[in-house]
């Protein structure tokens, strides 16, 4: 599992942005694009190269108190995003 004191940052050349025509956030990278669902987007919004995983969990747990197991979801996301090389850890 990703240690909570790691700071995720987008891989160089990867960009997260809102696309009005698709009405969703996307991750853009060389010649590719991934449409993100709402929960992935909420996590990506907090990946700024400053906040560690613990801070991201705290932030989202506070904003979405009714979502059970949100920390597990965030850990799972970090695993996938890192395995796909979308993010690096500082």
């Amino acid at each position: 599992m990703t240690p909570v004191d790691k700071v995720p940052v987008l891989r160089r050349g990867y960009r997260f942005q809102w696309e009005p025509a698709q009405a969703c956030h996307v991750l853009l990278y060389p010649e590719g694009m991934i449409k993100l669902n709402d929960s992935a987007s909420e996590i990506f919004k907090l990946i700024d190269g400053r906040q560690d995983v613990a801070a991201i969990i705290a932030n989202l747990s506070e904003r979405f108190p009714d979502v059970p197991g949100i920390d597990e979801d965030i850990f799972a996301f970090m695993e996938v995003a890192s395995a796909q090389f979308w993010i690096d850890f500082l």
């Binding site: 960009r15 942005q17 025509a21 698709q22 996307v26 060389p30 010649e31």
Partner: protein, 390 residues
């Protein structure tokens, strides 16, 4: 924003079975057909010499603006060699400011440290450099340039030094595919983030030279096996480099879902402003609109050319009654046209096609072919004028 509701109702009432297209997410700007190299598998049309006109800086920027409004997010600067456009940095900046992810697709010829820095300043997101081979001699022969290989190596290193993500593209064919190990090693040495090992697709100049380019089935299987070994090794090392292996559809029994469906997410604007749903559609007997006469919204949603093969009403048998027609859309319209004479036919790659024999014959020819590289027709203006009366 595009008023898609009203546009749709117009299209829908005229052609009830043409589904509303999604946005043109991918915009390819073929800025010019000029190129210092002469690759015999170039995807440009054979008659490029008669389409010499190019859109101005302002006209290109207007294309970017309208396409972005329609939802385009990825923008590829291509050609020809896009670096011959002196306004490239200006075009990059305009596109990046609109929110595009900007990709420069180049041979590396004409690139300098200074221009790399200039593009970086303009906001360029990524650079793709294409190689002809991993060996200097073969590379230069295929490129038709003695200095090409050394220049590409230097520029690939400079691209990484400037912090760009880098894609390296190798078009593979019977003359270089057996060196796939050396190709992948070179890409890893140059720290490519993505490597495209793209077996030649037979359009444009590649179709003209097909017999001299199509690898044998054994060559292809060997290359794929080696690529998979590298993939396993990279994964074990948690190495970020991704290897993308594109097989030629000539060895398939079902056609590719070409462009993910006709005019479905890809919009190609050629140097003179003619809009196409794919790189090679210009050769089809279909009239395509030009951005100098029509808005991108009209071109994408309403033009005849872009609606010509949307949906499935146009399909004859065997596609019409095929339960896979929504999976592969009957394959590639250009390939159907080139190999059967009718763009509506099933792509002959499909074993259900009455014309599948053409593909089988090409495979057999690949087993027997013994022509050297010297026999390939190089892509240049002189050959273009000779082949197609301009």
């Amino acid at each position: 924003m595009l008023s898609s509701g009203s546009t749709f109702s117009k299209v829908a009432s005229a052609k009830p079975n043409v589904p509303k297209p999604g946005p043109p997410l991918w915009l390819l700007a073929e800025l010019t057909y000029r190129c210092p190299l002469q690759c015999p598998y170039c995807s440009n049309p054979l008659d490029f010499a008669k389409h010499g006109k190019e859109l101005t800086t302002a006209q290109w920027i207007e294309v970017f603006r309208q396409s972005r409004e329609m939802g385009a997010a990825q923008l590829g600067f291509s050609g020809g060699e896009p670096l011959v456009r002196q306004d490239l940095a200006e075009l990059i900046k305009a596109a990046r400011d609109m929110g595009y992810y900007t990709n420069l697709i180049t041979s590396g010829i004409g690139l300098t440290e200074k221009r790399i820095a200039e593009f970086s300043e303009a906001g360029l997101d990524h650079i793709q450099i294409s190689f002809q081979a991993a060996d200097e001699e073969v590379n230069n022969m295929l490129a038709g340039s003695k200095k090409a290989f050394a220049q590409k190596l230097a520029m690939a290193r400079a691209v990484k030094a400037h912090g760009y993500p880098m894609v390296l593209n190798f078009v593979t064919h019977r003359h270089n595919i057996d060196r796939i190990e050396r190709i992948i090693d070179l890409c890893l040495e140059l720290e490519a983030d993505f490597v495209e090992l793209a077996t030649c697709q037979f359009y444009g100049w590649a179709e003209l030279n097909r017999a001299g380019l199509l690898p044998t089935r054994a060559q292809l299987a060997n290359a794929e096996r080696i690529t998979n070994q590298y993939r396993a090794r990279l994964q074990a090392q948690n190495h970020p480099c991704k290897l993308i292996f594109v097989t030629p559809d000539y060895y398939e029994e079902r056609p590719k879902a070409c462009m993910n469906g006709w005019a479905n997410l890809f919009l190609d604007i050629t140097p003179d402003g003619t809009a196409l749903p794919c790189h090679s559609a210009r050769q089809l007997p279909v009239e395509f609109p030009n951005v100098l006469e029509h808005s991108i919204s009209h071109i994408w949603n309403e033009s005849f050319g872009f609606n010509r093969f949307r949906g499935d009403d146009w399909m004859p048998e065997p596609c019409r009654s095929c339960d896979e027609k929504h999976k592969d859309f009957g394959g590639c319209r250009c390939q159907a046209f080139m190999l059967t004479g009718d763009a509506s036919n099933a792509d002959p790659v499909c074993s259900k096609s009455a014309h599948h024999g053409v593909i089988l014959a090409a495979r057999e020819e690949a087993e027997r072919a013994s022509q050297g590289m010297q026999a390939l027709t190089m892509r240049n203006e002189k050959a273009s004028r000779l082949i197609v009366k301009v």
